[in-house]
Subunit: 317 residues, 2 copies
């Protein structure tokens, strides 16, 4: 069984790198930190490598052990978490150079780029897959480990909201509460609290929100200049795409954000129901989940908007 | 035991009125509809009386049976749900005239104004108290009843977020999922989806948001004119007080809303931690929970703002 092979590889390895997708969200961060704690409990000293660690997750146990890069070039083992595609892997050089590689993920679009791939698209969060793996490893899910895992579950399910949430998700959370994990605090810190910069960005994206397709599609944006003006840090734009999706009658929300290059935008899309936004993002070299996906498109705001709205229009026919 | 007396009174009564607090939120609505279904399952034909039923809850089972008033003057039994104080009870004339009265609530500030009072301030929602009661009554909590109860739990806990959420809350939700209740759909409809009018109000309260006490207090408002301009319906201001509370460093958020009388404002307050906003609202004749409370104050926006900020300042000392 795959899980036995994973245990064997971990046991054999002296040096282990734990990686996740670029622009890491709560599930990526939670997965890396949880795996770090789990491997330590198995007697290993893994490296957790994340190039830009979002400030809001600094409260999590093990966050202080994360480093932006490493001077080990050739790891015995590299583990990629919550990342569908090697191109999106933060620190992919460590993965490519490693002697052995493992991919653990819950994206249906995963390209199975590891020597060992453990992918379950039915799972609402990569962290929820880890619960099963750690249980199989006979590791006790104590407070620290539980806090990291819960962070991934809460952020990737929008606070137990999305369709993929299972009875097991709720039962696992009940169990963590009984073990003394402060679910409410994690929820607030990981999902609810907006930085002041995020609040300033919220104002701007609300004021700029446009509706298309009879109110079924929302479009909004932020630029480099916005981010500078509000002193935004990595992660400060998180959650803004959800605002459009939350408006009555909206089926697709589009949020675009200028990246360093002036003529390049990162697109985040959400869908409430029928439109598969992962398919749309795939057309532009991106991907994700049917209801939450992203890609990068070259052009001015107007050009990018036209390109993406055209594909959304086609998908809604 | 109180619950036995409650069952006896229900069995004896031919006419029963089910009531809740004015400006009903999801917990009030969920409680009334759940009690309605439960009493029907016990062979009764209760009247669910709610003078202004918020549009967003119309999807719930039994919503079509709610009426704004009744021509029965003297009910055999009146049941008040989720209402701390007789003054805040919508349709209190039916309660005052009833031969027998029952109060079921989870507000610590409940004044015990019924002949029988079943109040549990440790419960995160009135609907969660009903789970215990219905279980004691040996009623099966099927899909319809579960949907109403879950609506109350989800809205009063901010989507399983607040401190009062218990392991039982999560276990109960897991059980409902297994019974086929669409938790995600209820979550979206009851808590997540904003009407277009609510989104327009959101823009305005964000633009007007002011910070006090070194960023620990936010204040914002909407007027009658705003509500007219955005075609607001009852309930369209719901959730706006949460926006300020969600900003990093904020301990108290204040949202005021003009009521029909030009010189009168309804105040909603939220607290993240130490400040007991129920105590502050009590000073103005209102009340609620330590972290979520409300009151009504006479005056212009500036006068109301000054009055409430003064008391918040005193409470933060």
């Amino acid at each position: 069984m795959t899980l036995d092979t994973i245990v064997e590889e971990i046991k054999k390895a002296d040096t282990i790198a734990i990686l996740a997708h670029e622009s890491p969200d709560g599930d990526a961060i939670g997965s890396v930190l949880a795996m770090g704690i789990a491997l330590e409990n198995m007697g290993k000293t893994p490296d957790r490598i994340i190039s830009e660690f979002p400030r809001k997750f600094k409260f999590l146990p093990g966050a202080d052990k994360v480093k932006p890069n490493s001077n080990i070039e050739k790891y015995d083992l590299a583990i990629s978490l919550d990342c569908a595609d090697l191109r999106r892997l933060d620190g992919k050089e460590y993965f490519e150079n490693a002697k052995k590689t493992i991919v653990i993920d819950h994206h249906g679009s995963n390209t199975m780029y590891g020597d060992i791939n453990f992918v379950n698209p039915a799972s609402p969060a990569c962290c929820e897959i880890l619960v099963g793996i750690f249980t199989y490893f006979e590791l006790e899910i104590h407070q620290d480990l539980g806090s990291c895992i819960l962070t991934g579950i809460i952020t990737d399910t929008g606070g137990f909201k999305h369709q993929g949430v299972t009875p097991e998700t709720f039962e696992f959370t009940a169990e963590l509460l009984r073990k003394g994990v402060n679910v409410s605090e994690i929820y607030e810190k990981a999902l609810e609290i907006r930085t002041k910069s995020n609040f300033e960005l919220l104002k701007r994206i609300c004021d700029r929100m446009e509706m298309f397709e009879d109110g079924k599609v929302t479009f909004t944006y932020i630029t480099n200049q916005d981010e500078e003006e509000v002193n935004a840090e990595p992660g400060d734009h998180e959650g803004l795409v959800e605002v459009g999706r939350g408006v009555e009658g909206v089926e697709v929300s589009i949020f675009i954000r200028q990246v360093d290059d002036e003529q390049k935008y990162k697109i985040s899309m959400r869908s409430t129901n029928n439109v598969n936004v992962s398919d749309i993002c795939y057309l532009f070299g991106g991907g994700g989940h049917p209801r939450a996906a992203g890609c990068t498109i070259q052009g001015t705001i107007e050009q990018v908007k036209e390109k993406i709205l055209k594909e959304v229009h086609n998908a809604m026919k």
